[in-house]
C-alpha cells in the first residue's frame, strides 16, 4: 500500500465523519439502528486503517502524520452521541424517506467514491 491510499481513505473518512455528525443532530438518525451500524463501520474502518499503516513503508514522519490524522478522526467519531437502545426508525414508522438509509447508504457509502 502506498501513502496515497491512506490519504485518500482519510479524505473519505473526513467526509463520512462530517455527514455522521450532521446525522447525530437529526433526532431520527441519532436513535436509529442504521446510524449505530454506520458508526460501528466507521470506527472499524479507521481501526483497520491504523493496522494497515503498520505495514506501510514510508518516512517515519509521514507515518506519524497519518497516525495523528486517524486518531483525530477516531476521537471525533467517539465523541458523537449514540443511543443506548437504537431501533429501526423505518420499522417504527418515523423515517419516511423510503428504502434508503442516510447513515449507511449516504455517509458510509461515501467511501465507495474511492476506487484507486
Amino acid at each position: 500500500m502506498e501513502v496515497k491510499y491512506f490519504k485518500n481513505q482519510l479524505r473519505g473518512y473526513n467526509v463520512v465523519l462530517s455527514i455522521l455528525t450532521a446525522e447525530s443532530e437529526d433526532d431520527l438518525c441519532r436513535g436509529c439502528i442504521g446510524f449505530d451500524g454506520a458508526m460501528t463501520k466507521a470506527k472499524k474502518g479507521l481501526k483497520k486503517l491504523k493496522l494497515d499503516l503498520q505495514d506501510l513503508t514510508a518516512p517515519e514522519e509521514e507515518k506519524e502524520s497519518l497516525v495523528a490524522h486517524i486518531e483525530e478522526l477516531s476521537q471525533r467519531l467517539e465523541g458523537l452521541p449514540e443511543a443506548d437502545a437504537p431501533t429501526c426508525m423505518k420499522t417504527a414508522g418515523l423515517c419516511k424517506i423510503g428504502s434508503d438509509c442516510f447513515p449507511l447508504d449516504g455517509a458510509i457509502a461515501m467511501m465507495k467514491q474511492i476506487t484507486t
Binding site: 446525522e23 451500524g37 417504527a92 414508522g93 419516511k96 423510503g98
Partner: protein
C-alpha cells in the same frame, strides 16, 4: 469373534430394507453361527427389535467409521418357528429432551416434543420487524408457523439472521434428540440469505473461522455455540428443503410425512420417523461472546477467534449429566462458594419465573393438539401446551400521522442536512479550489430555491411552515457561503487521486436518498 457372514445394512431406509438382507443371510446360515451386521446409528433401535424378534443374540457392538458393527449369534431355534408375521416391535426410541428445552428463547411455537420434525420459516421482513415484536410478523408467515405445529411439529418458528438466528435453531434442536427433520420453508431472507446459510451448514458445516462454508449470507458466523453442537446438528437432522414454499398445505404435508412409521414419499424425499437420535440431547445456550456478529469484518475474524479461545476454549456445553456434575462440583466448594452458587441459582430461577409470568400474561392462541404418531400417544397427556416463546419486549417508538405535504418537506430537509454537511467537508479539503464542488453547490442552491418556492405555496399549518422555512433558509445561507466559481478539475491537475468517484458530487446526490413521499401535486418540483 470371527463372523461367518457380514451384511452391510447401512443403505437401509426403513424396517424392510433393514430386515430383508439380514434374514436372507441368516437363511443360509446354521444355528450358532455368527453374523456381523453394519448399520447406521439411526437403525440401532430398529435392529435391536429385529434381533429380539428373530432370536439373534447380540454379542458385540462396535462403532466404526462406516457405521455400527453388531455381531450376533444365530439362534438354535428352527427358523420356521420364528414369529415371521409379527411386526418388528422395535421400541421406537423416543427420549425426553434436555431439562431446559428449548434452551433458547425466540419466536417459535412448541408442539409435542416427541415429534421428529421442526419447521423453520424464513422471515423475509425489513430489519426490525422481527422477534421480539412478534405481532409484526407478516400474517402469511405466522400462518405457516401455526400450521406446522398444528400438524405435529415439535417446534415451528421463524428465522431471520444467518448467525444468531441459526445458532438459536441449532441450540433448540440438539436439545431434543427426537427431532430428526428440519423443514425449511418460506421466502429467502433478502440480504441475510439465512435459508442458504442453514442449508450450507447442514451440508458443509463450518470452517476453522467459524464461518458457514458455502453460505451466501454476509456474516454467516457461528461464534456463540460449541462445535460439538454444530456437529451434532449436522448428524441429527435431515433437511427437507422447501425454501420458496409458502403454501401451508405443502408444509403441513411435509410435517405429516416426517412422522409416519413407514417411508412416505414427499416430493424428492422418502420420509418416516426413525426414532430419536442415538445420543443424548445437548443442553447448550448462546454464550453471548459475540453479540453482534453482523458487525464483524472479515479481517477481524482471527482476532475474534483468538479472543473466544482465550476466554474459553469452547462455549460451554452442558451434557444431560450436568446435574451429576454440578453435585460433584458443589461438594468441592467451600461454604462461601456454596452460598454464592445457590444465590446465583436462586436469582436465575427468580428471573425465569418472572419471565414465565410475563409470558403467561401474553399467551397467545393455543393451537389444537396435533395428531401424534402411535408411539407418542401415551405421553400426549404429559406434553406441554404450545406457547409462543417471546423475548423481552422493547418499547416501540410512537409514529404520529402527519400530512403527506409536511412529511415531504421534512424528509427533503433531512436530505439537505446531509448534503450540506458533505459539501462543507469537501470545502475543507482539496475540493475547495476544484471544479466539482462549485458545480455541486450551485446545483444544491437551485434545488433549495425550488424547494423554498414549493414550501411557500404549500398548504401547511403556519407554525410548521415557519419552522420549515427557517431551516430551509439556514441551509440556503450555508450553501451560498460555499464556493460557486469553478476552478480546475483536481483530477486533471493530478491532486485528486481517488479514482473516478467524486466526494462533492456524491454529497450533492445525498438528497436523492429521499425517495418518498412523492412531491405533492401543484408544488414546484411536484
Amino acid at each position: 469373534m470371527e463372523a461367518s457372514k457380514v451384511v452391510d445394512a447401512t443403505a437401509a431406509c426403513c424396517q424392510d430394507t433393514l430386515a430383508t438382507p439380514i434374514k436372507n443371510a441368516v437363511a443360509a446360515m446354521a444355528a450358532g453361527e455368527v453374523l456381523e451386521v453394519i448399520i447406521t446409528p439411526n437403525f440401532k433401535s430398529l435392529f435391536s427389535g429385529l434381533a429380539e424378534q428373530q432370536g439373534y443374540a447380540i454379542l458385540e457392538e462396535m462403532e466404526q467409521e462406516d457405521g455400527i458393527h453388531v455381531t450376533v449369534r444365530i439362534s438354535e431355534e428352527p427358523q420356521q418357528e420364528r414369529k415371521e408375521d409379527k411386526p418388528i416391535t422395535a421400541k421406537m426410541l423416543k427420549v425426553p429432551p434436555v431439562a431446559n428445552y428449548p434452551t433458547e428463547a425466540g419466536c417459535f411455537l412448541r408442539g409435542n416434543h416427541y415429534s421428529p420434525v421442526a419447521v423453520v420459516v424464513l422471515l423475509n421482513a425489513p430489519y426490525g420487524t422481527m422477534p421480539p415484536k412478534v405481532e409484526s410478523i407478516p400474517p402469511e408467515i405466522e400462518k405457516l408457523v401455526k400450521v406446522a405445529v398444528e400438524t405435529g411439529a415439535a417446534l415451528s418458528g421463524t428465522l431471520q439472521t444467518e448467525n444468531i438466528g441459526i445458532e438459536k435453531v441449532v441450540c433448540n434442536i440438539v436439545g431434543n434428540p427426537n427431532i430428526r427433520y428440519l423443514v425449511l420453508c418460506g421466502t429467502e431472507v433478502a440480504g441475510h440469505q439465512s435459508g442458504s446459510a442453514l442449508r450450507a451448514l447442514l451440508v458443509n458445516g463450518i470452517n476453522n473461522k467459524r464461518t458457514i462454508i458455502g453460505s451466501q449470507g454476509v456474516t454467516p458466523y457461528l461464534f456463540n455455540i460449541p462445535l460439538e453442537a454444530i456437529e451434532r446438528f449436522q448428524k441429527q437432522v435431515s433437511l427437507v428443503d422447501l425454501v420458496g414454499e409458502m403454501d401451508p398445505e405443502i408444509i403441513s404435508k411435509a410435517v405429516w410425512c416426517c412422522y409416519q412409521e413407514n417411508p412416505t414419499e414427499f416430493k424428492d424425499y422418502m420420509l418416516h420417523d426413525p426414532g430419536a437420535y442415538s445420543e443424548a440431547g445437548i443442553s447448550t445456550t448462546l454464550t453471548g461472546k459475540v453479540e453482534h456478529p453482523e458487525e464483524i469484518e472479515e479481517w477481524e475474524l482471527d482476532d475474534v477467534l483468538r479472543k473466544i479461545e482465550a476466554g474459553e476454549a469452547e462455549p460451554s456445553v452442558q451434557p444431560v449429566t450436568i446435574k451429576q456434575e454440578k453435585k460433584e462440583q458443589v461438594k468441592e466448594l467451600g461454604e462461601v462458594r456454596i452460598r454464592s452458587f445457590l444465590s446465583k441459582q436462586l436469582q436465575r430461577i427468580s428471573e425465569e419465573l418472572r419471565d414465565l409470568a410475563e409470558l403467561l400474561g401474553e399467551e397467545t392462541e393455543v393451537p389444537s393438539a396435533p395428531p401424534l404418531p402411535v408411539e407418542e400417544r401415551e405421553v400426549a397427556a404429559e406434553s406441554e401446551p404450545s406457547t409462543v416463546v417471546k423475548e423481552k419486549p422493547v418499547e416501540k417508538p410512537v409514529a404520529l400521522e402527519e400530512a403527506p405535504t409536511l412529511v415531504y418537506f421534512k424528509s427533503q430537509l433531512r436530505g439537505f442536512h446531509n448534503v450540506l454537511a458533505g459539501l462543507e467537508a469537501c470545502d475543507r479539503d482539496i475540493c475547495h479550489g476544484g471544479r466539482s464542488l462549485p458545480l455541486a453547490v450551485v446545483s444544491t442552491i437551485k434545488k433549495l430555491e425550488r424547494l423554498k418556492a414549493g414550501l411557500e405555496e404549500a398548504t401547511l399549518p403556519a407554525e410548521d411552515k415557519a419552522n420549515l422555512m427557517t431551516r430551509l433558509q439556514g441551509y440556503l445561507e450555508r450553501a451560498e457561503a460555499l464556493p460557486q466559481e469553478p476552478g480546475p478539475c483536481q483530477k486533471t491537475v493530478g491532486t485528486c487521486t481517488v479514482g473516478v468517484g467524486c466526494f462533492a458530487s456524491a454529497s450533492a446526490d445525498l438528497v436523492k436518498l429521499v425517495k418518498t413521499p412523492e412531491p405533492p401535486a401543484g408544488i414546484p418540483g411536484g
